[in-house]
Symmetry: D3
Subunit: 321 residues, 6 copies
Amino acid sequence: MTGKPDLGALFGATPASTFLGLEKCDDLDRMDASSAYIGAPGATPYGSVGAYCRNAPDALRKATSSLTANIDRHNFDLGGPVFPAGSRRAVDCGDLPFNETDFARNRTVIQDAIRKIVGKSAVPILVGGDDSVPIPMLEALSATGQTYSELQIDAHIDWRKSHMDEELGLSSTMRRASEMPHIERIVQVGARGIGSAHSDDHADAIAWGAAFVTAHDIHRSGVEPALACIPDGANIIVCIDVDALDPSIVPGVIGRTPGGLAYHHVLDLMTGAARKGRIAAMDFVEYVPEADIDGLGGLATAGLISAAMGILARQDARLPI
Amino acid sequence: MTGKPDLGALFGATPASTFLGLEKCDDLDRMDASSAYIGAPGATPYGSVGAYCRNAPDALRKATSSLTANIDRHNFDLGGPVFPAGSRRAVDCGDLPFNETDFARNRTVIQDAIRKIVGKSAVPILVGGDDSVPIPMLEALSATGQTYSELQIDAHIDWRKSHMDEELGLSSTMRRASEMPHIERIVQVGARGIGSAHSDDHADAIAWGAAFVTAHDIHRSGVEPALACIPDGANIIVCIDVDALDPSIVPGVIGRTPGGLAYHHVLDLMTGAARKGRIAAMDFVEYVPEADIDGLGGLATAGLISAAMGILARQDARLPI
Amino acid sequence: MTGKPDLGALFGATPASTFLGLEKCDDLDRMDASSAYIGAPGATPYGSVGAYCRNAPDALRKATSSLTANIDRHNFDLGGPVFPAGSRRAVDCGDLPFNETDFARNRTVIQDAIRKIVGKSAVPILVGGDDSVPIPMLEALSATGQTYSELQIDAHIDWRKSHMDEELGLSSTMRRASEMPHIERIVQVGARGIGSAHSDDHADAIAWGAAFVTAHDIHRSGVEPALACIPDGANIIVCIDVDALDPSIVPGVIGRTPGGLAYHHVLDLMTGAARKGRIAAMDFVEYVPEADIDGLGGLATAGLISAAMGILARQDARLPI
Amino acid sequence: MTGKPDLGALFGATPASTFLGLEKCDDLDRMDASSAYIGAPGATPYGSVGAYCRNAPDALRKATSSLTANIDRHNFDLGGPVFPAGSRRAVDCGDLPFNETDFARNRTVIQDAIRKIVGKSAVPILVGGDDSVPIPMLEALSATGQTYSELQIDAHIDWRKSHMDEELGLSSTMRRASEMPHIERIVQVGARGIGSAHSDDHADAIAWGAAFVTAHDIHRSGVEPALACIPDGANIIVCIDVDALDPSIVPGVIGRTPGGLAYHHVLDLMTGAARKGRIAAMDFVEYVPEADIDGLGGLATAGLISAAMGILARQDARLPI
Amino acid sequence: MTGKPDLGALFGATPASTFLGLEKCDDLDRMDASSAYIGAPGATPYGSVGAYCRNAPDALRKATSSLTANIDRHNFDLGGPVFPAGSRRAVDCGDLPFNETDFARNRTVIQDAIRKIVGKSAVPILVGGDDSVPIPMLEALSATGQTYSELQIDAHIDWRKSHMDEELGLSSTMRRASEMPHIERIVQVGARGIGSAHSDDHADAIAWGAAFVTAHDIHRSGVEPALACIPDGANIIVCIDVDALDPSIVPGVIGRTPGGLAYHHVLDLMTGAARKGRIAAMDFVEYVPEADIDGLGGLATAGLISAAMGILARQDARLPI
Amino acid sequence: MTGKPDLGALFGATPASTFLGLEKCDDLDRMDASSAYIGAPGATPYGSVGAYCRNAPDALRKATSSLTANIDRHNFDLGGPVFPAGSRRAVDCGDLPFNETDFARNRTVIQDAIRKIVGKSAVPILVGGDDSVPIPMLEALSATGQTYSELQIDAHIDWRKSHMDEELGLSSTMRRASEMPHIERIVQVGARGIGSAHSDDHADAIAWGAAFVTAHDIHRSGVEPALACIPDGANIIVCIDVDALDPSIVPGVIGRTPGGLAYHHVLDLMTGAARKGRIAAMDFVEYVPEADIDGLGGLATAGLISAAMGILARQDARLPI
């Protein structure tokens, strides 16, 4: 025998056309689910690099191919099946259309989708696409009339006023969030190394009241300090740029930065957030399959999304998390 | 100069035909050693994938090529040479024959070898091969008349009643162990993510009395909770599926699962077990050289086997571990 | 879009001809800097392998290409810009000439450079080259009339009397250091696995008074025990062989050894040393670009050098570290 | 103003005739409660010292005097009121009669009471009295037909075959427990210093399979190793000799032993046990009011009993703990 | 020799008429100090218990008697003398007058004093007195025009609307603080056991946005989570009710509650606050000398006040803390 | 029953005339023991306070009264009996004579005794007495011709040149040690608060090369940093001033200082020292029975001395520690 063996063959799996082999949901208005995987290849890309994460939503589906026959098995990250008895499953809503020139159109499409999903009492799991994708998601949540705490997990702080003459690009996400009245608290976890943040940007964020817990803080003191910054009972938006994880765990990102978080840190942050309040929306962005090493980062990202689905199913069914 | 430099050249090593350049032992009946490296390319493979780890025993030998001239040097994982003064060395017994169709024959061959090694007061280090290989090793130990605690270190729990109509395959190893009267305690460390375990399988294991310490537990609380589950003074079988380690440490496995153990966790578990009681047998299985990334996983696995040999030599000579 | 996106394009960077795009310093006698990056392709290579790290100084410069436009941005490893307001920047002094046959000449060249840099009140950051490179750096410091504590961070202890008939090669660095009267304390951090150390070498080091904190010690107890071994107020030479880091973090080394340090450990050691006393000189050696995996190790090494520059700039300006 | 102020006056409390001012239950056959505080001044005292803890049940009631007006307030050890909405309260069943000469009678009285309480689906909280008191409680549980794990928290191991010609005294409690067929697992936490245990007793306990986690282990590794020894889903009897706590926390014991557990350790052990399985019975013994220092130990013990009641109320109502 | 030896005799100290023998400041308008110790025997006592802490300010001065000759010595809690070279000392402003019937007068007196001290750029260290004393201090700070984060360290949360018909008493301190517009963030550390908090009070506090870090949280995760809740660069008021400390450390309180903080926790919280922002005011309340055990609690409280003075002197002089 | 029960009655003990009921040794020249308890009521007391610890050696013997019948029982601080099979016991050599006026005589007496004990290959456990007592012990060791590392565990650093015109008093112990050529390394653990140390004294100690690990360091990072400062294989003198422990653990000292070490810290330091090298001598000083609270501190000190005897017996017999 030569070459790599095939895990799918071992597990009796078939190629995944949806994430984890979940039921596909083509009509957001008829959704009945605890959470909804929805791909967004891009929103507002910078001209110099384009929508470099466009292939992520599909690559992450493929990363779960070997598990499609196993979705009802015990997930030890959760202490039970992804979707425990008495809970509603997640669905895969496919990918939103992406227009290479009409960025406003992209944002409207994302906003509409998020609004529909939230309207059906499901939690959106928006899968980018680059980090411009969450901006319309955040905007869409203003319609709920509620206020939110945003837990951003990212190697970068994304507080630039604009970059390359674009105010809605991936380097400005948190600045834009801070300007939305319904975002009342921001906690940013995982920053490290030299990012694109001017010290002025950082000072503005501090002045706004954003709490920063660096990757180094997490390595030294664990995730509790980050979780302590989230008010008890908050509505929480969890925004994960997968470059928050160490490049040895997720090499597939455009800006690998050493010293990143471990897988269990992100798992603990998601679980802790759901214990502290209620997760209202999530995104996973910035995975670049073309930059990955042998699929390592895709597997880790898909593992985190699977765990997120399990957390959200338990939250939805008021089961212990 | 172009290309990678050669560590062996630096250290004055010669290509390894045995693990660490240890003495070869061709006749198990005449062994005088503290432990015995013995390769088993397979035992009871599933038809869909075959004996996909068959090349591991030899690949792991080659991974030690650069160290063959250094076997007497200080090993800082052990605080002294692998084989300290006053201790007996390990030997390399080569690989057992593997028959692609007569699986019962494979199991008999393994059982016979283990029985002989144990009979010579050496500790077998059985190197798979997939995780069906330990089943005959466990059976062979019934002949000693003693009872055992099994410390399994694995990303998966392996409690399936059968899989693909095979009861003795790699997904059923711990279920089979639980049915052997001489296995009186089972501690399973490292489970995470979605494995192949039905929640029923997990419930059966709990009902049997198996103790589970997940990878996440280890990241949060260290190895002490796992070691606390092993009775003081126990005879211990340490079974290591190298997918227990994180894919960044051992990428060379069929079912990479993020969130895995670190190298020092496995080192601490082996050392801790030897301090708690007596290690009676070990296996290292599921290394797939073809799935590795630039040999990283082979090196880590070989490092753990080297440390195991040092621990067993100290145990054999009643030296502090 | 196919292929990997380009981070430099995203950040508006230009290819780096100097580390981080720092000002080049061609005349060491006219330097005005807090620290000085200076490449040394080799010093005293062993014949069997040659100067196998010769390409490291340049590869590490290239690893910072995407950051050259960002040098004034916040570095979250430092809690501010690399060079904070009121501090002096680092300079890049290019590479020293390397002669493939006249090793004495190489050493003289290194000694002269270090002496000049130190004479200008800058801290040298000597970038190898293999681990023979620090020997002349250490010798050069005798001219200051001061005594030093050396903090070596390395997977190997480098206490061989000689190797391949060469006393000044990379396996003898710390033995040579111990013979220099101005080196009054040695702390060695990160040893693990089977290195090239005879147990006799280790015993000699202990007898001399060297303190050893293994990689395993660091994983179990953090960096404080290592820092506690450095006298308060000491002049400290920090010598970093990048194989001290785990192979998953820095694969690009000749002797990958599993169980290595994490990025934050090395960051904490450098920061802690600067808080305990004054860092007088540093080296980063043994990076082998040709042995790296997709540039991971180069990025991590460059990140540590960037952090070192920030620490040294703060030390120089008497700002809190 | 001179003398100590009165906390009860501050809180508007009245002297406690029952623990925490709970409803009194005079007829065990008509109990409707989640747990039942029941005092046992003694069972089988040694002649040399008599029933030296006889005043404990009442002293512990008095220690809660200042809190009787506050029983519905938030208890931060529990994250809510002792008895949360939707849960059943505890009751105080007063003290069992104690006969100074007819010890068999004392034991029968205790057995009967426990059997009745358990029969009403309440969890007994037996308050000694010395450590001979739990023996009849343990025996009474055999009637349920279930098997149990016993978590003993104590400075001493209590495995003597007999002492002063008495087999049912306080130094033999765990030996007797080990002889009961329905006790299938024993975990002993908190041993330290020189107790009354022959090394033979210790060896017998190990041979039986008892797991020991010393006070020192807890200080070094926390409570997880102790909890790991309890099987998932077990019926658990928690037996607390308050000399397990450090003498600075509970000075009121006959055999103060330095190096003891902290209050939060015992809280974590109780909480952790209830998460691991179901607490079926509890005892708190060996508090000696006359040996206390200004009531410190009484207050700590009463605090733990209050927390226990809250844990048991949540367990009873299937609320998260 | 009989009886206890006298530490003062050993150190050559004279009885303290001021705290640590500091210079007395009789005229607040002419103060030149980094901080000011000012006693307040009471403010708004409840009728049932009166001003039961009235003797604390003086008792705490006496607790420093043995140290008056040593004020310039190294304080290892601070890594140098209390008042390092280049810093301004603290002064002792004596005690404010206390009127047993005119509580409004008491509050005015406190407000005036605090306003004067703050006006002289000194940090007030208000020493109660019960926990009603901080209310006028908090009010006085509104005059600065700045906003504040309050770090309360206390076993109780003090959010009652009123108690015994008094809205300004010690059980309502934090409720009152929450109503002041210049208090924009509240972090409460150390709550445990059954306090006087209705669960409604707790819910109101959560709804307001107060962050709670319980004593148990601190024992499990250290002080970082509490510090993470304080915004970077904040003006911080540190309010310490000494019952936050464990009764074994400070027995001298009216409501001893087991499971309290250790001395080093409070030290770390004060130090951490000063690193996070600027401490603008402090209070130490609820010490009851008459309820103490052999002066233990007085000594601990005085030690914390000494450390606070050192922290504030460093903050004032912009020296590293 | 009224009053406190008697533990001795429970355990069948008789009043202790020797420590733990050990064999008395009246003739130091005929000693055959692993260690020797020897009391020294004083050496060089300051005139203002006299020999205020003179009653300690006997009070500590009495603190073991209840344990005299149990000396062969399991000591869980040691994992076996104090004196395991195959080891030599300790002996109690009674108290040395103390002269209230001839301090030189006191010192000579101590020196002679230590020299004799060491000459018989026993480890002296010198029980003060105040902290002037170790000075002659340290001097006596010069006769061995060996060099030593001193591990001082103390709330104070004791580096005063002289105090009250006395150079050999308790505040100068470590300064004197530093002047002895055979003391080549000093590690000082436990300093905190305001001691009697001029910052000059501290600076001198740093300049000499003494390593300081404060009580706060220990609370934050455990004992490993302190142990790391001791060279591997060193001859170690362990000097314990019991005020190193927290006043809640050992109240019986003249200078109670909050924030002190826990019992397990001191146990870990002693055990760790014996693992790092060889303990050559020990002292326990500064216990003041008259200042104790209900004997708490005596019990803790006696517990540590018992553990020390067990450690030394294992060291003597080359058994694992």
